[in-house]
Subunit: 313 residues, 2 copies
Amino acid sequence: MAETSEGVPAIDRLAIVGLGLIGSSIARAARRYGLARTIVAVDRDEAVRARVRDLGIADVVTGDPAEGAAGTDLAILCVPVGAIGAAAAEMAPYLKPGAIVSDVGSVKGAVVAAVRPHLPDGVALVPGHPIAGTEFSGPDAGFATLFQGRWCILTPPESTDPAAIETVRALWAGMGADVETMSAEHHDHVLAITSHLPHLIAYNIVGTAADLESATQSEVIKFSASGFRDFTRIAASDPTMWRDIFLNNRDAVLEMLGRFNEDLSALAKAVRWGDGDALHAMFTRTRAIRRSIVAQGQETAAPDFGRPRPPEE
Amino acid sequence: MAETSEGVPAIDRLAIVGLGLIGSSIARAARRYGLARTIVAVDRDEAVRARVRDLGIADVVTGDPAEGAAGTDLAILCVPVGAIGAAAAEMAPYLKPGAIVSDVGSVKGAVVAAVRPHLPDGVALVPGHPIAGTEFSGPDAGFATLFQGRWCILTPPESTDPAAIETVRALWAGMGADVETMSAEHHDHVLAITSHLPHLIAYNIVGTAADLESATQSEVIKFSASGFRDFTRIAASDPTMWRDIFLNNRDAVLEMLGRFNEDLSALAKAVRWGDGDALHAMFTRTRAIRRSIVAQGQETAAPDFGRPRPPEE
């Protein structure tokens, strides 16, 4: 579905706004898989534009929202969640009828609320969220295969033109993603537990460790391989992106945090009272979830995450 | 130091009690690097003994503590923390003067307290803790290079014979580990934050997710790549081992949990009140710890932990 029957790219002009890890990966993938005739990179940061030009991953590079919007069939806003509304407002007056606006934000309800009022009649909104990434940022961090075998969730409002949804779906499928559609509210609820709460907790424990006496802190770093290290990777994610996520998915995050805290109190009580049976039962049932994740191909069963290890006999 | 000047293994008879991931890795490494003349595998589980015989990773395989102890120069107890005292008690009457008892438990204060009263005069105690492992268990999970470039912490009581400490140090160095010595109390304090609390939290969030409505739970598994997955790996660790760790390092774990909870309350408040500056500041400072860990070689800088990703151009 990514190309017409004549092999011509389905999207004539694709504008990518914000050339960070995700935006630059879309630019690379769209070109590699022939998904757009013209790729327009729009970024307000002059240093990023210079880097995008050097990398040669877009046909047009501009800092001007009007130039980015002109003639665009699909504009994907790849800026932090808190900046998506403003980015949409800047481009909206210049979008042609029939254009589609999408995004890659990790929160969807707040994005719909921020973007929708700015869009003129005849411009469709198809919000998206690829479940893919690394803890690195910027145009150099992207790569064309980032979305291969990863999920991309679309949350189009109910009245959205099915043809617009199909255009966005086909783009993500063309980049190798598995596409799922759901409501923005449901997305935000699910991601609160799968992504936002884990990040909040990882940031928190790394912060707790940073506050320890300095002697202990240096040992935390030294002996991090015992579990702490996995949290630091998550807690190394982009601060601005994550600030915006928590500000924009507050209610769902606080609800999940409330559940987490109730469970943690019960677990702490079992530790304090030496209730070994309760601890063992809790630790056993969590293994089943791990097995389901490996079985569904979202992870390998390799020890240590496939982290490099010395060669075996 | 692992061999005498004549190239003869420094340890004549090495008994490994408990042939799980760690014990079987020691057996493999001691043989590969020529660190012991005779390797004795002691395990109460007949199925494990049969597997160890099939794998051929020990010279003697027995379920009898007396046979395991007889003539042994160094006995390393590789059973869960809660079983170390009993394992020591069973072997102690049969240990020769000059023998050394060690272990690999993740808690050290409780191990010293459980083991020391059983040891006859002339038998030294040199507790150890290799910071290495995977989330897999059993004799098949081990490999000879598990300890390469990893830390091993020794916590000998103050009065311990330096020659005994040196024998254990040389064994770990011979298996490729970097060896550090500290008090048992300090070890338990540091590991509470680097290892025990991260595991408690990982178990907890995976448990919270398991309690969600079943529809959401299946989506948690589906979209786990967004952060949750990293917690499930930690929460897939051996339940018996971890039950024993929490029962035996209760005070240090509860202290660190208290600090964690204070910080989490502050973070939750920032989310609730929309304090973006506080969130951004918190998320920025955690990046520095990550950089220190990568700089110290306890982790690679590769995105996604070096998890396999499709080939790049």
